[in-house]
Every structure is written in structure tokens, then in C-alpha cells.
Symmetry: C2
């Protein structure tokens, strides 16, 4: 049962330096002199450690990394100097000593709760705070080659899980039994344990195994297929629904390696697929192939969506595309990174010119109420001359 | 492989009514006229559905439940009337029609991000908001018998997982392989999929399997044992560390059923336990037994902690109790509910008189740097005359 697991790399010093330099540049552009960063993923991105603390970045003077716990672990993981503290109250005096308290101060308004923001305003003696989150989100948009290397390893876990699914899926098995086995398989190959999604109420499982009826039920989540789950208290994910012949089993899995998330979907079927699903599956595959043939650095993401929509309309499948009825969502792709809802979003709603190093999941899916769903999801890195895939798993339906 | 799974109960109407009445009473006491509730767990608690929307409660006039998506699912799950909306902007006019916009307005400041609070202030035309979170946390402190019934089913999943662990744990197996198998086992018995923890940066896995060295490494989390994990980007949970003879394998598992979380720990060992761990284990068991003999409605939680600490001091184990060095935490128990960090906290820091219906995890643990850890965790419901346990799993070390 023991399998290979590479111990993940620490974030290199030059990577951390480049990220903080970019942040400081963004701060200068927006007239922000001090950034107070509290969310663990943001701290990890800028320091290389997830340990508890606060990262204060002065546009003029650079980073001050205060660590509460574990100082020992943080010291082994970050290339930055650490300032150990016992409690957050100590930060003000330490910043005052370095004459860093003047000017406009910003925090991550998209994730920091009101109570914590108010506490920091009071701790630092600030009447107001600005919003740092656009600078943080934009700063993460283009990934480095170090980051792409982490994505590739995350993609390897996805490949293993899709491979294993061939042995697990069979007629009569429950969605949750497939899910349980495949989540375990991913973990044994080194999956980090859970996936992160930014913002209030953004909850995410590692794996969604859905089939027939359960693929067609809408949830509050902004996704085309969420599943029913085993309780309305969670309201998403695999259910006790069992696999029937000819109906696609949708396996939507998020790899997680060293923080970096991949997110792909394949369809499996016991016996030949019902006619209803055959053409939509081919359209989904065509959309992916056509996108790989045309998109590259410089392409507008709204055009990627538009071209896909043209193909959907030609096939007469608009009302089933990316959901049905109240469940229809307005995107066909979403950015990946340390969080599963990073930029870019591939939607007709916002223009976004693709740049080398952007990473996104692309997921043409079709939902047929009362019947089931079919679709594919693959992950791309934008390159100068095209798109690079993050896994080698074929797009075809797997017949088991 | 198919196992029994009861479909979870919907929250009964009288339960929802009682919860909202209590909230309104709390609002009146604090002079709050309007509560705007956005966090999904809070919405679930007060409405019985987790679908996307906003629950507005007027102290005078009661609840207005606006649902964005899925209206269909919310309608099947909540006993409240639903007001379907397409976007949150519609809420102001709908409240104005009912003359509900006057007076002091409050939101969940402990979880709602600044950007979302600012958006709602602007949507409702309010200059300021008050903090609703103390009323919400206090309102959840005492559980109903309906809730205790959900906890018991959550506890049954825990019993199954501890039973299965006997077959899985063996010399040489990696922590993550044990974790993978046991998480899968829990899922097959109906585990809801993930556990919730309230607040910024509060991340939680279903299961922590740790052993020897990995039990002794501190993390940023406010827990006595967090594990190393497989990457510093997650920094908690099972690792690739393998099981050796005579050293406890600590299995800390959170059941999850219909939203309700249980959280228990047992120690397993291959072969006889090293002497170092024998006495601390007995002290942990004694503390639990003594607490069961003495605590009941009316007991002060600080006394529960104090009595445990006396036993620890008699054994000369203070420096190993609930962590070591920078890893030592200041509590021996924490409240359970829809989130794993509810009230009460069993700590010397805050007085809290136990009341019938409070539910908490109680976890005497001892950590020995470089060696390993040992301990037990059990869940209690406070009753008039004592404590009721949520699982039947014995406290003893399991020798495999």
C-alpha cells in the first residue's frame, strides 16, 4: 500500500522576494503605505509558511513578519526574518520603532471579518483602513514556473485518481462509496488533505462524484454541478444514489499539492452511453479541442467563452449548458492557484486578456433535468503560443 | 461494501421557531432591531436550509428569508416562508415595504468580511452596523434534544471508525495511509464530508492520525496535537511518518452528521506501550473518569479544569499537559455543534456555569518532545445529574 511521495519544496527566496516586490509596487500605485496581511493563504504566499502571525509590508521599507506560533516551524520554512511575538498587541510598538505607522493602511477586505479589522484599526491607532484584496488577487494572477511545477505534481495526483476510478466504478455502487475510495487513493499519493476557496461561505470538497438525478439538482454554490450530498446541512457532494447503466458518472476531482490546486472532471459509464448524452459529450470535447487550437497569450477570455457558446448554439444545447434553469452559471472556466476561485474567470461578463503563466480550469458541461449530466474539465497553463495541459489523462468517456 | 445510511431529518418547525424567538429576545436585550444574517451555518441554524440567501430578522416582526439559489431546495427544507430574489439589491425595497428598515442593525462581525459588511451597509442605507455574533454564539450554547439526537448519530460514525482502526493500524504503515482508510470508512457510514470551524483561518480536517515525532510538532492551530501534514502549505494532519512499536498512534476523529460535529480521540499501539506513556495515559483516563463523577449542571467549567490540573500536578506532568513549550494551549475542552469551536470552552480563563444541554469535547493529552504523545478525547452532554457520553467506545488503549 505504501506509495511514493515527494516531500514538497519550500518556496525559494527569490520567489518570495519577487512576490513582495510586486505587492509593494501595487501598493505604491494605489497610494497605500502599509499592508497588514492576516489570512493564512496570503501569509503563505508572501512568506512561504502558514504558521500563525501577521505580515506587515511597508511600501517603502519592505516586510516585517511577526510570528506567534509556531516560531520554530516558521523559522524553518520562510526565507524572511522573523519577529517572534507573544500577542498581536506588540506589533504597534515594533512598527512605531521603525517609523512605519504613517500613511494609508490596507487589509484583505474580501476575507478579513469586521471584528478583526476593527481590532487592528484599534491596535494600530488607525481611523480607517483601505482594501488590499484587489492588489493581492491581481498579484496572484500570473504564476511562476515554480508554481507551475507544483501544479504539475498536483495534476499527477489527479491522473492517479482518474486511473483508479476505472477499477472502482461499477453498476449499483453508491456515489459516496466511489468518493470514499478515490479520496483515499488521492491521499495515499500525497494529496494535501483539503482544498481552499476564498471568501465567505465558500466550501469545497476534494471530490464530487455525481450521477444521473444527483447531477441535476442545483445548490447555492456557483458551480454547474454540485451534487446533493448526504445531508442538506452540507448540501453538496456525493450522495447515496447508485450507479445505473448508460448514465454518465461525473468524477470532478481537485488535486492538492504543496498548496496548489488542480481541478479536472471526467465522465465514466457502465455500458454504452444513452443517446441523450452522446452528442453533448462530443460538443464538450470539441470545445476543449478548439480552445486548445486557438487560445494563447493575448486571447481575450470573453472570446474563449464566445467561441464555446457558438459551438453550443450550433448544437442547440444552450438551455443545458453550464447548468439548467436557476442552476445555470455564467462562466466556463475559473482560475486556479492556492485557492480554487482565483483569477482569471472565463466568462462573457469581464474582459481579461490571457497572459503567459495564467492557470485556469475549463469545464464545458451539460445538464439534463431528471436525466443526468455530461462534461469534461481540464486545466490549462497559458503559454505564448497556446495552452499547456496539467494532466495527461485522455478526455474520452471511460466505459467500465 | 454498501452500508446502512439513514437520511438525515429536516429541522422541525418548532425548533426553528424557538431558535428565532431566542434570537429576537437577545436582540431586544441589546437594543438591536434588525439582524442581517449571511453566514451559511447561521442561516442553516435559523432556517433549516443551507441554500444561498440572506435571513433578515426583525426583533418586532420576525424573520424574512430571502433566497437566491436554490429556491427549489430551500423550499423543500425550511419551514419558513421564502422570498425568492434574483440579487441582494432587491432586499432593501422589500424590507422598506414592510417598514423594517428603522433602528439599529447588526451582522455577524466574527465571520462576515469587511467588504461584504460595507456592501450591506450601502444596500440598506445604514451608516453603521452592530455586532450580532455574541448573540448568535450564546444562542447556540445549549442544545435541544433534536440536536443531541444528531450528535448521537455523529457519534455512531466515530464508533465505527475507531473500530475499523483496529484492523488498519500496524507496524510500518504511514499515518496518511491510516488516515485515508479511516476517512473513507467514516464516509461510507454517512459522514457529511467535512467539518466546519468558525472564524478566519480556522481550518479543520476530519481526521488527525499522528504518531511519535509528528505528535510533538506545534502548529499555528490552537490545539494540543495538530500533526505535521504532508506539506507546510497545509501544516497539519497525517504525515508520511510510519508506525513504530511501543509508541502511541493518536487517532483524533471528527464525526459529522446532519451538520453536527463530534470529536473524539483514542490511542492505539503496536505491542506494549513504552513506560514513558503508561502513567500519562492513566492520568488522562483518571481525569475523564473523575470529571464524569463530579461535573453536572451547575458546575463551573473553571473547576473542571482546576480539578484536572490538580491531578496533572500530582503526577508531575504539568510541562507536558495540553502541549509542550510554545505549543501548550490553555483549555482542556471545547464546545461542539454545527461548528467545532462553539461554546463552552473548558479553561481556567473564563468562568462558565455548565447547563443541561451544553455539549463539549474533553481532551486530556500529554506531549513528550522527541518521543510522542498520549491522551484521550470524549464528548459530553451536560445533564442535571452528570455528563452523558456521545459514544460507547471504551477509553482504553487499543493494542493491535
Amino acid at each position: 500500500m505504501l506509495k511514493t511521495l515527494n516531500i514538497p519544496d519550500l518556496t525559494p527566496k527569490e520567489e518570495i522576494t519577487a512576490r513582495i516586490d510586486k505587492l509593494r509596487k501595487g501598493m505604491v500605485e494605489k497610494g497605500i503605505e502599509l499592508a497588514v496581511i492576516l489570512q493564512n493563504v496570503d501569509i503563505f504566499y508572501f512568506t512561504g509558511t502558514l504558521q500563525r502571525g501577521v505580515l506587515v509590508v511597508s511600501a517603502e521599507q519592505g516586510p516585517q513578519f511577526f510570528v506567534e506560533k509556531s516560531v520554530y516551524r516558521a523559522g524553518m520554512e520562510t526565507p524572511l526574518d522573523i519577529i517572534p511575538i507573544k500577542r498581536d498587541k506588540e506589533v504597534k510598538d515594533l512598527l512605531a520603532e521603525k517609523k512605519m505607522l504613517h500613511g494609508r493602511c490596507a487589509m484583505e477586505f474580501d476575507v478579513v471579518p469586521v471584528a478583526i479589522c476593527e481590532r487592528w484599526k484599534s491596535l494600530l491607532g488607525k481611523d480607517r483602513m483601505e482594501d488590499l484584496s484587489p492588489i493581492i488577487r491581481d498579484g496572484r494572477l500570473v504564476k511562476s514556473e515554480f508554481e507551475v511545477a507544483q501544479f504539475r505534481k498536483s495534476g499527477e495526483i489527479v491522473e492517479r485518481v482518474f486511473e483508479k476510478a476505472k477499477d472502482i466504478i461499477k453498476e449499483g455502487i453508491r456515489e459516496i462509496d466511489i468518493e470514499a475510495e478515490l479520496v483515499a487513493e488521492g491521499r495515499k499519493w500525497g494529496h494535501q488533505g483539503f482544498l481552499r476557496m476564498r471568501g465567505l461561505n465558500q466550501e469545497m470538497m476534494n471530490l464530487y462524484v455525481t450521477h444521473g438525478y444527483s447531477t441535476t439538482i442545483t445548490s447555492g454554490a456557483d458551480v454547474p454541478i454540485s451534487g446533493i450530498g448526504v445531508t442538506h446541512a452540507i448540501a453538496q457532494g456525493a450522495s447515496v444514489n447508485t450507479v445505473k447503466r448508460g448514465i454518465p458518472v461525473i468524477v470532478d476531482y481537485g488535486g492538492g499539492y504543496n498548496g496548489y490546486i488542480t481541478d479536472e472532471t471526467r465522465a465514466y459509464a457502465v455500458g454504452p452511453l444513452k443517446d441523450l448524452f452522446q452528442k453533448p459529450f462530443e460538443v464538450a470535447r470539441d470545445i476543449i479541442n478548439e480552445t486548445m487550437d486557438t487560445a494563447k497569450e493575448g486571447t481575450d477570455a470573453t472570446e474563449v467563452f464566445g467561441r464555446a457558446m457558438d459551438r453550443v448554439k450550433t448544437a442547440g444545447l444552450e438551455e443545458h449548458f453550464m447548468g439548467h434553469g436557476e442552476g445555470q452559471v455564467s462562466f466556463i472556466g475559473h482560475g486556479l492557484g492556492l485557492e480554487i476561485n482565483e483569477l482569471p474567470v472565463i466568462t462573457p461578463r469581464h474582459r481579461m486578456i490571457l497572459k503567459e503563466g495564467m492557470v485556469f480550469a475549463f469545464e464545458p458541461k451539460f445538464i439534463f433535468p431528471g436525466e443526468g449530466a455530461v462534461g469534461i474539465e481540464v486545466d490549462f497553463v497559458v503559454r505564448k503560443n497556446g495552452l499547456e495541459r496539467l494532466t495527461k489523462t485522455p478526455l474520452d468517456i471511460v466505459y467500465v
